[in-house]
């Protein structure tokens, strides 16, 4: 067997810019904390409001991804487990609580100290108790934006309820930080968000091309700013640059991987501790993931005369807050639109909300699309739950079904 030294994938030039803005984001978090105006947010929280009210924001889930990527999951999670948190608890929550307990032994010395904790349960119910726990440890007050699940269409009563929550949020921030919400500032932030999401959507859709200009790991890294810094102006340049690079790749027929043979869909958060190894070893075998359900979750627009109404609708209708059908439809749509040969459902032990229903989803998606799928098990941060040999057998068997 001949060992080729050549890389199986192409690096993105836009990554330099990405590193710069992630660095800036980190510094801004620290200075906001020092100035007493830092909020910790859940990934599905309407960041536009705290941002328009001059708060700095950081995302513990994103921090969890850092813990995972640095392969510190088992260690940092154990700090939380040692004081009694169950290993069944979401590993983002465990690593967040663990890093608050022992920042000196955690990556980046933990997140900067929060002055407010803003939780939205549109992604899951875990965040509520998790933020309560952090509140106990840090003394920062918690605000919960309650978005009851939606089975089909969001009724008027539902919209009014969530909107009342947003108004309560505005009051909460005003009271704690002595700031007012300016309408024109909110408009500006919302416009930036809309623009970032539009660019992001265009970038994602360019992966319909063959070969696909981006692979899964590319998108998981590139989504960081649209998740954590949407609403700011400085991220737009990055997405414009990335879009340009992606378009160039498409017009030159250059793929994210050197020799694209099989196109798959990915479902769920990635195993952060293994992300490059996992996707790049598949890249060597000609397997690319032009689409995934996760990075496609940041979509929509605030382009409406009433921004609060637009916020209500966008944040209530994330598909984690909807029935399982919404996700099944999304998967089928992605498989068709991106012309995919099969799918991999990553069953994440931590995230019951995202992983529940994968078994039945697999059956339905296979039936509707006619392509095979496989479920692999593990976790996004806690590498103790990821057995490489078992995952390998399942993926290999899927590939054998396809080729």
């Amino acid at each position: 067997m001949s060992e080729k030294k050549e890389k199986a994938y192409r690096l993105l030039e836009a990554n330099n810019l990405l590193n710069q803005i992630m660095f800036r984001y980190m510094l801004e978090g620290h200075s906001a904390s020092e100035e007493g105006r830092l909020a910790w947010l859940t990934s599905g929280f309407p960041v536009e409001i705290p941002l328009a009210m001059s708060l700095g924001v950081v995302y513990p889930e994103q921090y969890g991804a850092v813990v995972g990527s640095q392969k510190m999951g088992p260690q940092v999670c154990a700090f939380a487990e040692n004081i009694g948190y169950s290993p069944e608890l979401c590993s983002y929550a465990r690593s967040s609580i663990g890093s608050v307990l022992k920042p000196e032994e955690s990556p980046l010395e933990g997140l900067p100290k929060p002055q407010a904790l803003l939780a939205g349960n549109n992604i899951c119910g875990t965040v509520m108790k998790w933020y309560d726990a952090v509140s106990q440890l840090t003394g920062a007050p918690v605000f919960l934006l309650d978005t009851p699940p939606i089975d089909d269409v969001q009724g008027d009563h539902h919209k009014e309820y969530v909107k009342a929550g947003l108004e309560r949020l505005i009051t909460f921030i005003s009271d704690h930080f002595d700031v007012e919400l300016q309408d024109d500032r909110l408009r500006e932030v919302a416009d930036n968000s809309t623009r970032a999401i539009a660019l992001w959507t265009e970038i994602l859709q360019s992966c319909k091309a063959k070969p696909s200009p981006l692979n899964c790991a590319d998108r998981f890294l590139a989504m960081a700013p649209v998740v954590s810094q949407r609403g700011t102006e400085y991220i737009l340049e990055y997405y414009e640059t990335l879009l340009k690079e992606v378009r160039e790749r498409v017009s030159n027929g250059l793929g994210a991987i050197m020799d694209e043979k099989v196109r798959l869909l990915w479902d769920n958060i990635p195993p952060w501790f293994n992300i490059f190894r996992f996707f790049n070893s598949l890249a060597k075998r000609g397997v690319v993931f032009p689409a995934d359900t996760y990075t496609h979750a940041w979509s929509g627009s605030f382009d409406s005369p009433d921004i609060l109404n637009a916020i209500v609708s966008l944040y209530s209708n994330v598909y984690l807050n909807k029935g399982i059908d919404a996700k099944i439809d999304k998967m089928c749509e992605l498989i068709m639109d991106y012309d995919l040969d099969g799918f991999v459902l990553f069953s994440v032990r931590s995230c019951k909300r995202y992983s529940l229903g994968q078994m039945v989803s697999k059956e339905i998606v296979m039936e509707r699309t006619g392509v095979p799928g496989v479920i692999i098990e593990g976790d996004m941060v806690d590498s103790r739950l990821f057995n490489e040999a078992q995952v390998q057998t399942r993926i290999d068997a899927l590939l054998e079904m396809i080729v």
């Binding site: 078994m359 296979m366 095979p372 496989v374 078992q390 399942r394 290999d396 068997a397």
Partner: protein, 260 residues
């Protein structure tokens, strides 16, 4: 590479199996042994035995490896998963089969076989010993009978007792409790097989029970397990003559194909 023969090696966690076939797909020789601590020692001995039994020089014969140790076989030209190999192997023996249930020493799998013998869907249990041969081994030890006699003993029961747990550790203490309360060994043995069959029938239903159904793997030799599984799935089970060899057979067939 001579195309006259093909070798399949199935390196499982418990046993290593080797099959050599001729161009017509007929088995020329086969061999099975414990894998033990060294995969390469097991593989070498299996190949040496196949060489001896078949009376052929195997130097240039294509080899496909499968099973959990498939990547550790240096002499293999290609590694293919046990899922594909079992599917191909069973299809070769009985092309009618739609669903294959394979219960091995440390894992179990259920495979929907497509028209060309390739798998079209599957579920695996390789994370926990419940629902594998290991479960029955542990229970046999607790009951103080040999693994070969556990099945026949269970078939003597007319009143299986209920073992509610399929977790090996919990079931073990349940069985000890049953022994303590004076239940008959045959009834306990029957209860053990029922619990195991229920675990496997759940796995099968996830893939969808489409007849005809085959059962392979070491546990397929256990008559009580077949009895209870067949009852719970409400289907007849087809068993190949040597149910442990289908993975290696599939691998041998794959070794004679350019691509699949």
């Amino acid at each position: 590479m001579t195309k006259e023969y093909g070798i399949g090696l199935d390196v499982g966690s418990t046993t290593t199996k080797g099959v050599i076939i001729n161009q017509n797909g007929e088995v020329v020789a086969s061999y099975l042994r414990q894998t033990g601590a060294s995969v390469s020692a097991a593989v070498q001995e299996v190949i040496a035995t196949l060489r001896e039994k078949s009376g052929t020089d195997l130097e240039r014969v294509p080899v496909v490896s499968t099973g959990y140790g498939r990547a550790m076989v240096d002499s293999a030209h290609r590694a293919v998963t046990e899922i594909t190999c079992h599917s191909i192997g069973v299809h070769h023996l009985n092309p009618e089969i739609n669903l294959l249930i394979d219960v091995g020493g440390q894992d179990s799998k259920v495979i929907r076989i497509g028209d060309n013998g390739k798998p079209i869907d599957f579920e695996l249990n390789d994370k926990c010993s419940a629902g594998t041969g290991r479960f029955l081994e542990v229970m046999a030890r607790v009951l103080g009978v040999s693994i070969e006699n556990l099945g026949p003993l269970a078939l003597e029961s007319s009143k299986p007792c209920s073992i509610s747990s399929t977790c090996t550790v919990f079931a073990e203490s349940e069985v000890i409790g049953r022994i303590g309360s004076g239940e008959k060994p045959q009834d306990i043995a029957a209860g053990i097989h029922k619990a195991m069959a229920s675990k496997i029938s759940t796995l099968s239903r996830r893939v969808g029970v489409v007849e005809p159904v085959a059962i392979t793997g070491g546990v397929a030799k256990n008559p009580a397990f077949r009895h209870y599984l067949s009852k719970q799935l409400e289907v007849e089970l087809w068993v190949p003559k040597i149910p442990q060899l289908t993975g290696a057979l599939g691998a041998a067939i794959m070794s004679l194909k350019k691509s699949f």
